[in-house]
Symmetry: D2
Subunit: 337 residues, 4 copies
Amino acid sequence: MIVILKQKASQEEVAKLTKQLEAKGVIVNPVIGTEKSILGLVGDTTKIDPSSIEANGIVERVMKVQEPFKKANRMFHPEPTIVDVNGVKIGGNKIAMIAGPCSVESEEQITDIAKEVKDIGANFLRGGAFKPRTSPYAFQGLKYEGLELLKKARENTGLPIVTELMSPYDIETFVENVDVIQVGARNMQNFDLLKELGKIDKPILLKRGLSATIEEWLMSAEYIMAGGNENVILCERGIRTFETYTRNTLDLSAIPAVKKLSHLPVVVDPSHSAGKYWMVEPLAKAAIAVGADGLIIEVHNDPANALCDGPQSIKPNKFAKLMEELKVIAAAVGREI
Amino acid sequence: MIVILKQKASQEEVAKLTKQLEAKGVIVNPVIGTEKSILGLVGDTTKIDPSSIEANGIVERVMKVQEPFKKANRMFHPEPTIVDVNGVKIGGNKIAMIAGPCSVESEEQITDIAKEVKDIGANFLRGGAFKPRTSPYAFQGLKYEGLELLKKARENTGLPIVTELMSPYDIETFVENVDVIQVGARNMQNFDLLKELGKIDKPILLKRGLSATIEEWLMSAEYIMAGGNENVILCERGIRTFETYTRNTLDLSAIPAVKKLSHLPVVVDPSHSAGKYWMVEPLAKAAIAVGADGLIIEVHNDPANALCDGPQSIKPNKFAKLMEELKVIAAAVGREI
Amino acid sequence: MIVILKQKASQEEVAKLTKQLEAKGVIVNPVIGTEKSILGLVGDTTKIDPSSIEANGIVERVMKVQEPFKKANRMFHPEPTIVDVNGVKIGGNKIAMIAGPCSVESEEQITDIAKEVKDIGANFLRGGAFKPRTSPYAFQGLKYEGLELLKKARENTGLPIVTELMSPYDIETFVENVDVIQVGARNMQNFDLLKELGKIDKPILLKRGLSATIEEWLMSAEYIMAGGNENVILCERGIRTFETYTRNTLDLSAIPAVKKLSHLPVVVDPSHSAGKYWMVEPLAKAAIAVGADGLIIEVHNDPANALCDGPQSIKPNKFAKLMEELKVIAAAVGREI
Amino acid sequence: MIVILKQKASQEEVAKLTKQLEAKGVIVNPVIGTEKSILGLVGDTTKIDPSSIEANGIVERVMKVQEPFKKANRMFHPEPTIVDVNGVKIGGNKIAMIAGPCSVESEEQITDIAKEVKDIGANFLRGGAFKPRTSPYAFQGLKYEGLELLKKARENTGLPIVTELMSPYDIETFVENVDVIQVGARNMQNFDLLKELGKIDKPILLKRGLSATIEEWLMSAEYIMAGGNENVILCERGIRTFETYTRNTLDLSAIPAVKKLSHLPVVVDPSHSAGKYWMVEPLAKAAIAVGADGLIIEVHNDPANALCDGPQSIKPNKFAKLMEELKVIAAAVGREI
């Protein structure tokens, strides 16, 4: 950590600040410049809050040298983490394919789609039972009934189920019934929920917040891991920018960045990011090419009548064609689907 | 609502879509263009999900004409809402001054600050008991003990207390003990929490999300109001942009925008937005000048040793000076403090 | 074009506005809603400025139905444009590889790199002679001497040269000496320059502005094309977002978007977008997978001593390895390098 | 400047890098950490390009301690700069009021508006002769004829004229004919133009780029000042964010930030930022309250028929009322209009 001092700082003030910093267990190295002086802090600084130092009257600003995350940090855990979901793995050489409708609508709908995507080669079934919607008047999901339908689809196909949790009240139910618990973009910094998820050992799929930096995203993973649950899968789903043609801007450079900074697996959701079905195919290919460990793709047997996200859903036959094409891309980057 | 059709749409397809739309209770007016044709939908469209129409193969895109919020909409409620908190009002001619430390640290700290800000003229005491922190290793607040200390400060000063709720588990405790429940920026789209808050009648201070549009912010207010709780106070606290010199970019144009679109009162938090104590004064003045109904200002008696947000806190003597200056600005725009 | 009227608009006012609009050569279709009414304009609306209508007191806002670009629009030019640069093509099945240093530094440097990238398979040589730098104190390029060195490198290798123009004063020199004229991101809306470039017939590589929407980018292409020069190649090079880990956020979803909206070829610059050499490889692969027509890659024989952009440059041996890998990706999407 | 080294850097490599850095005239202070080591550079680092150091294989990243601007820096020029335009000053206690239409349309229009705003108390006349428009098909201004009309309006009123320059070809004409040369947001990083403007001594009004950081904006001022022209007036006009309700997001926190970092005067353009006439009044008040040295306000005698920017123009009578209200705000912050 680097503390940049104001020009006017007197020697006494700097000495006093130095003592305060040393009391926090770090070694302080002064570098006296002609215009600005700095203090270089050496040691474990993860527990020092930069803003508490910045509040000191002689400090201009504080710059971090080290990432603030520990458990999610590749530096302390060089091997990539492979999350095991009942034997199906996310994070290894094989790319995980998660497919299914935006929301569970009926037994027939979810079971039919589950069978189709299973036959085509998907490894996981996705489907929302609890739906976070911008409008209180929009369809909010079938809720507990939706979970039951997902379980039936799992019974029929053997596919593990991935579905979103919205309330801490439902954690026990989810632990009992689902295979991967999804935390949505809007809850990425619902710290209360993250803490609760740190206490269980069910795999967590953590979507990146709409305007979360990569560091904040990893800090949210750290919340879960600090609690004891290290089964975290990251999911890039597009960030908010000024561009309005696409629903979000898929940040594919985040994939190599996360791979460098962290050992956690990271998957990509090309359906939500673009919001347009015809973009799913090129973005899915790009995601594999850039190094993603998996994809989440919205597949619906009747997009025009889907209760949500129809415009970004593809039909099973398109998904089948896409899978064939993705296998070739995966092979081109030394991986398999 | 306007439905823009693809060029290739056949008459049969358009007729079929028209029937589907009419079945939703709206009247469909076709406007046939040379290159693109549109359908103008007349009637109550708030319950129609634009994306469900966009999923239709002949639809290029759907544009909303009307705001998707009803209860928060000024069009249906022209008079400004005044929220009454035990007799202290937010939303009328008098500007509400909410002041206090980022977090409650000790009985002495919160009581001392409360007395000082009360003497200076604040109408509310703020102070965090449950703190949303980016890092799991940072100070998370005194929690329930913090609430007890806030209550003691209220007993000593009579100031109503404003404090942040992070978990639905604590709603009952908050209803019993605090005067205004704050929903933090990171929970603005924690829809589950919003729904629970719609069931109570305690005033809610709803902070704008870090990258929430004004419409999304009002839709979050709508979530609470749709549940039956119409005591919503909006709070602008800066949005995320590319600029890094300030912590966030305070969006003061949001104040007249919200005033035009909605009848709800809106306050401004100049402390969090800038993240620098020396910006609090000019931004507070600008907020009053632009039409805010109140201010939330972080005041701490010892910023350099504050457990959080020291760099953006001002000392009581500075707050006293600021209050005097703000009174002049308030008078200049025909209001009072 | 859709004109949304204010609630309070009287019949007389609407009739008057209708007449004014009809005088501009369009047909006006009114759609009378319960709360808001609209006017649907049919005909050629590209010459109508929406803001001139919005200034009318009874108009709430105006929404465009049609894209404001004509010559760049795929609707009126369904076949993809292939730009021919002295026989080397950009926009067809073959992917164009543009490689070279950030800036021309010496005859030896540019000639050596040119030979190496040519041997490895590049189709164009890039290299800056005039450098747009944020700081007036940074190296500004070798200027005219740089152009001469580029020409020598072209003589030695036969590679057409791509280099950035900064001033209208230099257009004649560029027309005479270079093969593709690059317009940098910071000049994307230097309309004066664009107009001048519309008068020549040299191919233009138009970089997307740092925060330009896709529509604005295509409107800048339209400026050049409206002047008569239809040889425009678009270049995505990352946009500005809140994320600071990468220099810019490469917007790969812009590639399929541009392909849908326009017939112009589009290439990707993975070097500038990320600003980190180790991201060039995965992003280059993703760019091919998503459908780009070419890549611009910074290659330097001694990045640690490069006069600019060293951190994002790769060495020739890495470029050679990358080329081999890209060929496989290109084949996987049915194209060749 | 702080150089953060990679963990794997050997002592030899660090010694070699240290020598290279010392050769650039700085003193190198190593701070050896447990996980990461840094080098603190002391001396004049403004001429060292951080990216040239980052290209070194053992360097992880480089952080600047000092601002990269010199001439615009308040540290080296503590007194505020007051720009004198033929006796009318910008930057002192008196707030400069610049008013006029978006574009010059006719002799009658510009002369009438000039007289009205002069009578109301404006100090400068604005009016575009050369108009930067997103569309090549939109009205591009009366050009040289527009300049002549502005001069006539000046003759009639005595108001100095402020107008935008778009091409270096026109600099001589502007020097001869106008009083303040405006550089538009889209040309803020047209470095070629900035360099040319550094060679003259006419005052320059430099608008902030659509997505320019405060540092980049000051670096553009530095370009002009480094050339010898220190008469630079900054103008905040809103930045691009995800919010679409307003045309741009007016960044009022930039005003105190610029005042802290630089000695240059800074004015605010509330008309362009919001794009809505009814927001001009509250934003103008906020701008004065936050500390701006002046305002640029679009005033038109017939907004509904204005050739550009009608929706954000106010009529003279509204401007008169606004002036009266602004005087009160100015007095409240110890200034005058």
